[in-house]
């Protein structure tokens, strides 16, 4: 039960610390073309980057830019050290047993594709089932659909309730002894639902299924411990957690990663190549063919340092308070309908519809007030279909967002309401 009113919640936000944090993000000082300050509430799509991340990447390019893992010269050794240090930082951040279980990919999407093409092709066939949920991002649906065509397994899904939570009463029907892999999102990028990972993993174990957790919306926002979750695979992207674009992570259990065939072939992923055949490198390199995104990995390492310094518990608490405040204030707007569960059980985002106003019109009008939100189906079209809405607008928060920014959002929503007032017919 929510007992605090919106104003009490607002007072409880550590606004001094937020004000100090904002200084770390150069872009937050930006003034938009029409003179308004930027109110950036599209963090679930991509977060902003602190100066420390930009600096780390620039230092690499300016002072020790070289390829990794092969050169014997000073620059290459420095680059290799920094690149591998970033891997170790990421491993500590999510409590992976060893850095070698951190595979660098281009992002969460590529991480899922890696599992599909490597583990999937080696382990799935006719008679097998892969289970997803109706609230998955397209990245956790489409790779399985593509693979299903090739391998002939069956793809099933856990339905959702009208409030946007998994319908666990149906779990027994779709999670069977034929299920080889259960892929589910940790925190929904639309309805904000925080799924009961423990319960889902336990259920998967009971039928002998592996689990893949899409943590793209959880790792940036809350403490995540891959061992406590008992994840077989867990994926996330750097650019949603203060890091650069173009890099992401696949975490996997060691014995799984070691038994899997490579994903892409090329340099760095081999131990020995002859014209007759090749032997694969050890993990993680087996899965990292070609020159990796070195500057981006170093940037991600700096982002992890930054978030660790702020403290993920604090980030989580801040977002929860801000989301509860936003939820209460937004509910006051006439005709506004929030998708998903109540504020006590959701991540730091609020997707909504406004009666008679298309989400793209909402986003365009908010933009006139400097408020950046996302509109559309947020790469989760099946979820919108299940909820019976075509599209939605979404405000998503991060560690640097403030109560004043939520107020600016709400004011702009009232303005939108007024603009579109009047009979539609």
């Amino acid at each position: 039960m929510e007992t605090m009113g919106p104003m009490r919640i607002a007072e409880n936000l550590l606004s001094d610390q937020t004000a100090a944090l904002r200084q770390d993000f150069p872009i937050l000082g930006r003034v938009l073309p029409q003179g308004q300050p930027l109110v950036y509430l599209d963090n679930a799509a991509s977060s902003q980057k602190p100066a420390a991340v930009l600096q780390a990447m620039e230092t690499y390019y300016r002072q020790y830019n070289a390829n990794v893992h092969r050169g014997v010269h000073t620059l290459s050794e420095e680059a290799t050290t920094a690149f591998e240090a970033a891997r170790a930082k990421v491993a500590r951040f999510i409590h992976a047993p060893t850095p070698r279980q951190i595979i660098f990919t281009r992002g969460a999407t590529e991480s899922i594709n890696l599992v599909a093409y490597s583990w999937g092709r080696a382990n799935l066939g006719p008679g097998d089932e892969v289970l997803i949920t109706a609230m998955e991002h397209h990245a956790n649906i489409v790779p399985w659909q593509i693979l299903q065509e090739q391998l002939g397994f069956t793809l099933r899904h856990v339905p959702i309730t009208p409030t946007g939570t998994l319908d666990l009463s149906q779990l027994e029907k779709v999670l069977t002894e034929r299920t080889r892999l259960f892929c589910f999102v940790h925190v929904s990028n639309v309805v904000g639902t925080v799924n009961p990972v423990q319960q889902l993993v336990t259920a998967a174990r009971a039928v002998g299924a592996r689990v893949l957790i899409d943590a793209a919306q959880s790792v940036p926002h809350m403490p995540v411990d891959v061992q406590a979750l008992d994840a077989d695979f867990l994926v996330f992207s750097s650019h949603k957690m203060c890091g650069p674009t173009g890099i992401g992570v696949l975490y996997g259990k060691r014995e799984l990663l070691e038994s899997m065939p490579p994903f892409l072939g090329g340099g760095d992923m081999i131990r020995e190549v002859t014209l007759q055949g090749s032997r694969w490198n050890t993990i993680p390199y087996k899965f990292e063919a070609g020159t990796p995104a070195i500057a981006e990995a170093i940037g991600l390492g700096a982002a992890v340092d930054y978030l660790t310094q702020v403290g993920m518990e604090w980030v989580h608490a801040h977002e929860r308070a801000l989301t509860a405040y936003a939820y209460a204030r937004m509910a006051e707007v006439e005709g506004l309908q929030i998708l998903g569960p109540g504020p006590e059980a959701r991540g730091g985002l609020v997707a909504f519809t406004l009666k008679d106003v298309h989400p793209h019109d909402i986003a365009a009008i908010l933009d006139r007030s400097g408020v950046a939100v996302r509109a559309g189906h947020h790469c989760a079209q099946p979820l919108h279909t299940e909820l019976g809405v075509q599209a939605s607008a979404r405000a998503s928060f991060y560690l640097y967002n403030t109560v004043e920014e939520v107020d600016a959002l709400v004011a702009a929503l009232h303005k939108t309401r007024q603009l579109f007032a009047g009979q539609k017919g």
């Binding site: 106003v357 298309h358 793209h360 559309g376 603009l419 579109f420 539609k424």
Partner: protein, 127 residues
């Protein structure tokens, strides 16, 4: 040109669309959608001697796409198919009287795509 994407006239066409619905016996009917916004537009035309004598649209989506469709239906009454085939992006922008960024341009041009597909007898306007 005004830079206000939601000038009064556009909102008025959105809230009170003209020529919305269906014709009894259309000679031309075409349809398309914009996957980005989820906008959908269907256009129906009654054509006599190569001249549009009646026009209607149906659909749903953002204010830009729906208002544009409604305005366009008014514009094409009395026009020849040849004139309609010559319509282009500039024609639409001038009709709307606003500046539109590259993302929302798709919304504004959807009704034109549908209309021209119909005028050329195509199922769908090629990308």
């Amino acid at each position: 040109m005004s830079d206000d994407l939601y000038r009064e006239a556009i909102l008025d066409y959105y809230k009170h669309p003209r020529h919305k619905g269906h014709l009894a016996a259309p000679d031309i009917r075409s349809h398309d959608h914009n996957p980005f916004c989820g906008d959908e537009v269907t256009v129906e035309l009654k054509v006599v001697d190569g001249i549009v004598v009646d026009a209607a649209f149906d659909g749903h989506g953002c204010a830009i796409s729906q208002a544009t469709a409604s305005m366009l239906m008014e514009e094409i009454l009395g026009k020849t198919m040849e004139e309609i085939r010559a319509f282009d992006k500039e024609y639409i922008l001038e009709m709307l009287g606003i500046e539109i960024g590259p993302v929302r341009l798709k919304c504004a041009l959807l009704p034109l795509k549908v209309l021209k597909a119909g005028a050329y007898g195509l199922e769908e306007w090629p990308e």
